[in-house]
């Protein structure tokens, strides 16, 4: 199981709800991560920790703290459950 893929799924779902699907897809595209209109990530097995930080930094830059707030707890939960490091942006 790729924990980072699961983390990315959480970010997509939460940002869809916060920003709407169109704006979310644009921001992801700018960060080099392609998702379709249903939120499926292209090449999900290639997601790495750096990708999580990259998209969170992009969201923080473009939208602000609230885009991080909405993903903070589920990402922390996933990190703790899977004993992996938290994304730097969440720390």
């Amino acid at each position: 199981m790729n924990v980072y893929k699961n983390m990315m799924d959480v970010i997509v779902r939460r940002e869809f709800a916060l920003l709407g699907r169109y704006q979310t897809r644009e921001i992801f595209k700018n960060a080099g991560i392609n998702i379709d209109e249903k939120g499926n990530i292209r090449n999900p097995d290639d997601i790495e920790p750096e990708d999580i930080d990259k998209i969170l930094n992009e969201l923080k830059k473009q939208i602000g703290f609230i885009s991080i707030l909405v993903v903070k707890l589920p990402l922390r939960r996933l990190a703790i459950q899977n004993n992996v490091k938290l994304p730097k942006t969440i720390l």
């Binding site: 869809f16 709800a17 916060l18 920003l19 704006q23 609230i66 909405v70 707890l73 589920p74 922390r76």
Partner: protein
């Protein structure tokens, strides 16, 4: 956002959404009115920042001087800080809230009579309908209440079932439960408390849920919304 949502919207007989659609915030505030005969109850009066716009909206559908009650689901400023402005406009009225909320609402400098719903049998008789108050302690305030219109079966839920979104719709879209989780998981204290309180409404006939933030949950999604709340992973202290 549709232009039409800059105007009040009728939800059911005597029930209107009168919120202010501040487009630059994900933390939108909804307010509602119950109009019954010659009496009006304003539910979660709103923020001081939005008073001018919101009161102007309300005046397009009712005579604001007929507001008899302010029903406040808890004491936070986003729903109470307009109260002194309302009083300046129409004079003191009756503020209905839980006693644990009213002792704090007093500090907004209000002159209205503070009516504790826990001391009036959790009910308010209006001319053509009975309004019931449901105690929801610690969700998120110790004196949290919901308001249930027994005539229209509309449940006004305060912060509970609220959501965070810039992509706001008056009625919940397909992504709304994620928006709801994003807000609720930070503000709700524990899964145990949420589940105890959800039992109070899970068998209630509900035509729609009207939260103070986010979107209205239509009747066909009410059961799913309650189930979603019961499964909410909350208690943020666990992760801080």
């Amino acid at each position: 956002m549709s232009e039409k949502y800059k105007k009040p919207e009728k939800l059911a007989e005597g029930n209107y959404w009168v919120g202010y659609t501040n487009t630059d915030s994900a933390f939108r505030t909804n307010a509602y009115i119950i109009q019954s005969g010659d009496e009006i109850a304003l539910i979660d009066a709103g923020s001081a920042w939005f008073f001018k716009n919101m009161s102007a909206q309300i005046e397009t559908i009712v005579d604001v001087n007929k507001i008899k009650y302010f029903i406040q689901h808890h004491q936070d400023p986003d729903l109470c800080s307009s109260l002194p402005f309302w009083e300046k406009k129409i004079g003191p009225r009756k503020i209905l809230a839980h006693s644990k909320a009213n002792i704090l609402i007093y500090h907004y400098g209000v002159k209205s009579e503070l009516v504790n719903v826990d001391f009036i049998n959790w009910e308010l008789q209006m001319p053509d309908r009975l309004i019931k108050f449901i105690f929801m302690p610690y969700m998120h305030s110790p004196g949290e209440i919901m308001t249930y219109d027994t005539k229209t079966k509309v449940l006004f839920s305060g912060d509970i079932f609220g959501g965070l979104s810039f992509d706001w719709h008056l009625y919940a879209n397909e992504d709304y439960f994620e928006a709801m989780d994003a807000f609720m998981e930070h503000y709700m204290p524990s899964k145990e408390i949420v589940n105890i309180n959800m039992k109070k409404i899970e068998n209630l006939e509900i035509s729609m849920i009207c939260p103070q933030h986010g979107s209205i949950i239509p009747g066909d999604r009410v059961k799913d919304a309650i189930e979603n709340m019961k499964n909410l992973e909350c208690g943020s202290y666990l992760y801080e």
